[in-house]
Symmetry: C2
Subunit: 294 residues, 2 copies
């Protein structure tokens, strides 16, 4: 059997409900795969091969473009509930009875919706650089985010240096290494996200972030073991939102890495892969026994 | 060479500055030892052998009673600065040039003082269930803490079930297992902490917690890699204080475990030992390279 990697996995298509979903699937087969849900304006090529190939050593990894994004057909809906439903349709179309679900940034909002709407499918959740409904500054977005996304860049990819990394020398150096890694795949790359798709994502973010009474009660219904991860200084979705997730999810662990921003998983790929792999591999994720089952 | 354990390590004495410090030392020798700083009203016997013996598999563990506490002579000073100075005197008296320092609860305040006053000694810091100067509700203590410490208990040890564990069935069951483990050592146990010592600790807590301007600036001076750990629902030193520590320490990672309280290390000993051991063993604690050195 050929074992594909981040760089060699072919883009495949599965069609369901009139939507052609583009996806790539690679890694060690046989267990519960991990489905990756991408950030604002992101495609399959915005993942870090150090993360995806790292995770793929011990499990199957499934990257995909949700409806209306990049290589997938259809429209980007203006709610995360609908994006979650689309993601569920995609997962079911692959014939999966169970999946672990990772969501990064707005992918974390999709991941929460998947868990809420299809709890039978989701075994465990990994929520990175994300937040709850009505999270802090999630309706309007942060002023830092407005500044970063509003600026122009000599090299368009430099946008991600500011979105995902802190201004520190160490973080920026890590960011440049990440950008290089994300360019290593040269063939069969995803097209850029269309402006109309990004606008729909923005509209959905505003609705998700709108202030509500008892906004965080819904998190009690996400009973899966969850690992919540963020950087110490996320200025896109403020770090405190990860704390709020942990405090309101019934069974979640929080990890915050030092001197890092929205893209902590890209800054500390070795730590992130190890933390996620341990969490997903553990027979009991949070054992109270003296010795863990592992 | 005899390898002692939590239960068999003899209580030794080292005298410095007129104070006779009681301590126990065990585990794998040869590296940087981990010095444990204990909580309010706690003695060497209040540590969990699942934690200390777990950590001792890969490094030397040093438990001690700070000045005026239990088997150690002297008085408990009314500031953590002085308790830190006493702890430093103890560490130096053992001839150690370098140590990793773990502090739990008010032991975490002592640990911060050790790092501030003797940065040359401290290699890495582990801060559990603790907080910064002027932390939230750290001047007066929390109302929950007042209630818990003010109540009377059929079995005096049941106090710790409420201090260290949440009301959930799983947490209380873990708490009862912890209490059993902490009773396994039957010989050469530490005497209870004297009332006068506890009062001095309380006075020091009030001073530490007092509101100050720019209260958290001092944390910038603690440059050692730090691992900050707490339970999700610490009602003795509110969990948010661990978040504040992470946000203000220049090089700290935060871990918050689910459904747990002040004594998260006693509820999840296997996770705690693994997390601490990885952090202390790592050549680079927070590597930005694709693969960690380990």
């Amino acid at each position: 059997m050929t074992q594909y990697t981040h760089q060699t996995a072919p883009t495949q298509i599965v069609e369901v409900g009139g939507i052609r979903f583009a996806y790539r699937r690679f890694g060690k087969p046989g267990g519960v795969p991990l489905v990756f849900n991408m950030h604002f304006m992101g495609t399959m090529d915005h993942w870090d091969p150090a993360v995806t190939d790292g995770v793929a050593k011990e499990r199957e990894v499934i990257l995909f473009d949700n409806a209306g994004v990049s290589s997938s057909s259809g429209d980007v809906p203006e709610t995360f509930a609908e994006m979650g439903a689309n993601a569920i349709a995609f997962i079911r179309a692959l014939g999966l009875k169970q999946a672990d679900v990772l969501g990064f940034s707005i992918g974390g909002l999709v991941a929460q919706e998947i868990a809420l709407q299809a709890p039978d499918i989701v075994r465990r959740l990994v929520l990175v650089g994300t937040g709850p409904r009505s999270g802090e500054s999630m309706d309007t977005g942060t002023p830092e985010g407005a500044q970063i996304f509003g600026a122009t860049y000599e090299n368009p990819d430099d946008l991600w240096l500011r979105v995902h990394f802190t201004p520190s020398q160490a973080s920026q150096a890590a960011g440049r290494r990440f950008l290089k890694r994300s360019q290593l795949r040269t063939e069969d790359r995803d097209p850029q996200v269309a402006e109309i798709a990004a606008l729909a994502q923005r509209a959905a973010i505003a609705k998700w972030g709108a202030k509500r009474e008892n906004a965080w009660d819904y998190l009690k219904d996400i009973k899966q073991p969850a690992l919540v991860i963020n950087g110490s200084n996320d200025v896109i979705i403020y770090t405190i939102n990860s704390y709020i997730l942990q405090q309101n999810l019934p069974n979640a662990q929080l990890i915050i890495y030092p001197d890092s921003a929205h893209g902590s998983l890209f800054q500390y790929p070795a730590l992130f892969v190890a933390d996620v792999t341990r969490f997903l591999n553990a027979e009991v994720p949070f054992p109270t026994e003296e010795r863990s089952a592992a």
